[in-house]
Amino acid sequence: MPTRLAALASVLAAAFALWPLFALDVAWPGTVRDYLEAKGTVESGAMNLVSAIYLGYRAYDTLGETVVLLVAVTGAIGMMAAGSALAPREAGGAPVEPARSPRREARSRQRTELIAALSGKLGAVILIFGLYVMLYGHVSPGGGFQGGVVVASGIVFLALGSHGAAPSPLVGARNLARIESAGFAILLVAACLGVASGKGFLAPPLPGGDPVSFIIVLNAVIGIKVGAGIGLLCVAMLTEEAA
């Protein structure tokens, strides 16, 4: 009961404290919108102004976001690995994995084969669609991150498809980890190119060049890094479950 009481008090207190923010009813300030409408496409080269901000004006935040994702993937996978390594040494109260009945095992194998046949084909298609979303983010909705997530689901499908058969090298956990850390390193190199050319950290590095090319490069690198990272996480979760 004290938990319920605490929850009620927390909710009431939060409602009181945040009420002025929800009651706020002033006209939306148009400074940023007006500026971007006038100059955004010229300065960044992207017709999609959200992409212009995400990978141009505020690419620094996006870098932080990819770092958060990197930490989450590294941390979660590390915990899963530590969990399986430490499990037998756990003192007291360690639950025993419930053994699956043979019938359920057979049924699930049957199902897995069906999924494998379908998803192996589907995975390739999804991967290509992901690449499209990734590379055309500057003109249409989408971009590196969204494309990366689509790529990740393609990877998951490929991993499902390679159940039973020889696993595709692309979706091996080790390779995905390699691709992710390489993607992160390339992202940092791309960010630092501006330092070398004197335009500053995270600035489009080429003098006089079309800034949109920098956004496309960032989109591609982020997409590959995110796709590999999330794919790695999902593949690790799927394989742990199967183990």
Partner: protein
Amino acid sequence: MGMTDLALAPAILPLVGAALALAGKTARPASARTLERLGAFVGLALPWLPLVLLAPSILQGGAVEGFVGGWAPSVGVAFRFDGMAWLVNLLGFAVAGPAWVHARGSGPRGSAFTALYLVQASALAATSMAADLFNLFVCLEVLGMASYVLVTESGKPGAYLASFSYLMVSAAAMVFFLLGVYGLYRLTGALEYGAVARGLSALPDSGGHAALASVAAIAAAIALRTAVMPLYGWLPEAHALAPHAVSAVLSGVLIKTPLFALTRILVLLPGGGETGAILGAAGAIAAPIGVVIALSQTDAKRLLAYHSISQIGYVVAAWGAGVALIAADPDGAGASAGAVLVAAAYLHALAHALFKGLLFLSVGTVTDVAAERDVYRLRGAGRALRRAGERLPVTTLAFAVGALSIMAIPPFNGYASKAALSAALKGRWQYWTLLAASVGTVASFIKLSLVFRRPKPAASTETFSEEAPPAVADTATEAPESGAEKVPISAKLATATLAAACLAGGLAAPRLYRVVATALGAAPGATDAWSAALYAPAELLKTAGLAAGGLALFALARTAPGKALASAIRNRPRGFHGLFLALCLGMAALTAWLIR
């Protein structure tokens, strides 16, 4: 490479180091170790270079300002590398480097650990120079994510629970932070601190309740990350159960960085001064309460963790009073007086980072070699260290330096920084609560020092024979190899470095204080009177009095009623929901106070 890139370098270099360390994760073990070391060098040693290069201009009160990537002011991400950012970086890298070296011996090791550790260092630097509300949000999230994972690296189940609580309450607080960003952006259409302040002052009622509620939400979120008194519940377990090196960084650096980053917001926005004053008052109350709880603990690292709450109280007390003065009078004499207070707060933050880092590392070494963390059961720590092959008593001496520093015994840095706090807060009520807390600090470190006492002849067989079996979870992860009971050379190196820094910080305190005050914008010569009186007989007499009081309090705590009280405090109910209740009530109280 311009000044802008140089200023960003302390945040970028650790990320590069993290990328290097990560590359080792999938490499062969030998090259993985090389990459890990290279990454740590790039991320923890190289950032000193830009700091040194920037020092001449920054420490005169200069600042490097700009927008990352050189984008337009209204949309780009602003950063500001000023005196405060420089000082916070100094604090961060001074502890992060030695702590990483300590981890080479005491664990954890490995590419993933080093990468996360470097990400944390990068986020610390980035937080210190953020000048954009949403960028601060991102930096705090990176900082948080890295620390949630690092806490669990010790592998103890309790650490997972601590990390989960920390993650949950801090993620909820960050949603409140985001809502505060919403309110301020909605009102002003800007995210850069200066532009937000200008936008608010252009509004007829400078934003009214919504602006104040936004400031309160942001301040509450950061107060939680700083573990200011009512919002401290997540800290003790997380800091006590993390690996020693991580504890040192968490306690020494991680809780202070968001606080100092908040300064820039509070001195500009409406309600900022009052928020500072309230947080300062909470800190001044937290100092004695935290120390009482610390005194009641039996676990060595938990005792240190509660001390962090008390010590952060000292820092926040002076910081809050200073922020209130600066916000009330940003261009006049108040700003200089406020800067002196903030400088005193920083001086203590730096001192605390060094001696608390030192204490966590040396106590960690002691509890590892003795395989016992209970202060009452652990005896003869010096002998255990000797048995572990320590000829020169480096760890014992390091612990002594740390304990004398935190007890404010001259000539160590804790004495100087507490003297700076007392001088800056003289005539305010906070002065007295901090004084009371100092008595308790002395008492609790007398208690902790007893682990070095010679074991009683009668009890010796009992304590030594019991050394191996207790605390299964501890030994499972901390003694993975046969050489582990030896004190590793890296641990000695790390503690010796920090001990030297504690001594140097005490000896050079007058000069250091002057530099810090100037960098933070105080009038020249504002600290001269303090420097002259640092070792005056009255001050030394006060220290002797505090030490005597501490001894008396310690004796009092050893009596039967004292022990009963300690046990009651130690076993007070602490629920998960209490964290959220404190957060929400704290935020609501702050909002109510601001809009009254």
